[in-house]
Symmetry: C2
Subunit: 343 residues, 2 copies
């Protein structure tokens, strides 16, 4: 029986997570779920972000389902560094998986792309690069101030995420991997990424490969998102590119993500890309699709590919059946999705 830790979090987090659990229960009855109270609310109440005892308890689960954490009242960085990034690093979640599809029924912002034409996944490195927290400053608040941020990249860390990207490409129809970096400027890290990529590519002659600079990739995601299958890139580039990919496929409201430790030594974490959206919290109008798609990624990671496929098909049915402009109710969407998933 899968043991899931649930961090519903703040704002619309609890509302959308409730639907994701509804759908999980429908396709995988008996899943054991334990709730953890983390996020802005707890921080304000107790000053705690992620106590070590909670981190230890989370480590004992098969996966974590997270809604959204954050609130404008919390200083920037506190929950990001103290909770989200801490989990990614503590649980060695080196694959940050972000699929983007332009689903039939969804209107994207691009005039040039038809629903169904975009189906890509960004495999973003999750434990290195500029997210290492290696930086500092001197002479703060004087004219002589200097501040640094260091991008740390290891062959170990780079190669393993590239391997994951190739493995995923092999399970997809087009079998294509695009490496995105900025090798013409970031020559040291860029060279490491490029050499590791070439080495792994040589072991996968059945996978097509290409390289793009990050600025070009950002542009092509807007002008020709259809061209991408699997994109592998570093932590910061992945942060930016996945938001572009979400934007061109109908917005972060539909975007799912997984922070994955592929070996399963630590729990992986699944969460919608959207935030806590305090402006619509409690109104029952948040779209739970991103949370439900994140639950599908969770199922897939835990080896329930079948159940994952049923949830994904349910989402496809839901989105195809929507009438643009008709407001949705979070609960009703969850009920429909659970229904579709077991039909």
């Amino acid at each position: 029986m899968a043991r899931i830790a649930v961090v519903a979090g703040d704002g619309i987090g609890p509302e959308v997570v409730a639907q994701a659990r509804k759908v999980l229960d429908a396709v995988l009855p008996g899943t054991e779920a334990t709730e953890y109270d983390l996020g802005a609310a707890r921080y304000h109440r107790t000053g705690e972000v992620l106590p070590d005892s909670v981190l230890d308890e989370l480590a004992g689960h098969d996966a974590i389902l997270l809604g959204a954490v954050g609130d404008p009242t919390v200083p920037p960085g506190v929950l990001e560094r103290g909770l989200l990034l801490k989990l990614r690093f503590a649980f060695d979640q080196y694959v940050n998986l972000r699929p983007s599809r332009l689903w039939p029924g969804v209107t994207g912002p691009l005039a040039t792309v038809k629903p169904g034409e975009v189906d890509l996944v960004v495999v973003r490195e999750g434990t290195e690069g500029l997210y290492a927290g290696a930086g500092g400053s001197l002479h703060r608040d004087t004219p002589a101030e200097v501040a640094t941020e260091e991008s740390l990249n290891t062959r170990h860390g780079v190669e393993r995420v590239i391997r994951d990207a190739f493995a995923r490409a092999r399970r997809r129809e087009r079998r294509k991997v695009t490496l995105v970096h900025k090798t013409n400027v970031l020559t040291h890290a860029g060279s490491l990424w490029a050499r590791a990529f070439d080495a792994v590519a040589a072991e996968h002659p059945d996978v097509t490969t290409e390289y793009q600079h990050v600025d070009a990739a950002a542009m092509f995601l807007v002008t020709q998102p259809q061209r991408y299958d699997v994109v592998v890139t570093d932590n910061l580039f992945g942060d930016i590119l996945t938001d572009i990919a979400a934007a061109v496929t109908g917005g972060i409201g539909l975007a799912a993500s997984g922070c994955i430790n592929p070996e399963g030594r630590y729990p992986s974490m699944f969460e919608p890309v959207h935030g806590s959206a305090p402006d619509i919290a409690g109104k029952g109008v948040a779209d739970p699709v991103a949370a439900v798609l994140s639950a599908a990624l969770l199922l897939d990671q835990l080896g329930h590919a079948d159940a994952a496929a049923r949830v994904t098909a349910a989402v496809a049915a839901e989105l195809a059946g929507r009438t643009p402009g008709v407001p949705l109710r979070t609960e009703e969407v969850g009920d429909r999705l659970a229904g579709y998933a077991v039909a």
Copy 2:
């Protein structure tokens, strides 16, 4: 009399620069232009990228007009670091200016945006950040390899480019400046940027300000590019965001840029954002509009605001008069633009 150094460069560079000079000559007769042979061709012929003697000569000019340098036959980084970045750093071109407009007559990729609605300028820092070249690697080509890239940011460098952005905002109608960074992750550099921004903002109560994380800005450039007026950001974020802005306004074929030393201590450099496009070089079909708009930025920088406005108006007339799908001839576009500009 303005003394201009012309680096026509490779591929379509010479073709589009010829049109930009035609227009310059039309609006500012008597401009003295000296050609410099730099780029892939010279590199292959002589092994030289940017000899010190040439750098010294360039320094004696009022401005540099550059077409495009580069060719697939040159190893990545050689011309970028050795020529383009070397000029930006040697001539302290700390303002990398990149305007984006969705011109009437141009079809952008976004269904949601009408021509004329987008008119933004990105003020990208040009001499610091991850472009400093501060990085290295150890244990190359072993499993223990580590590679670093360091982002270097100084109060001096950050504040001066932010000041430039506010000064530009004051000359625009909406008077709005958006700071883009990633303060929630890059806390040291982010804090420096945010504090410098707030300090400069306090001196400009007539300018509206906002802050966005780079991932959110990348998304909003796709979903609501209309919301931006002046965007100020660091070197790497600016590299990425300006390509997105170019993509949503009809492609880098129309995008102009200036690498500016605002004090005029060193020459500023103006160039189209597009590359040398070897596939269409020599065919006379490259669109010279980006080169001509870059010449308009040059005129503006040299204090010829009137002539700059005439060139910009000529481009507007040219683009408004185009019929989608009708192929263009580089020479003819140049002739028309020169004609419009003096009409």
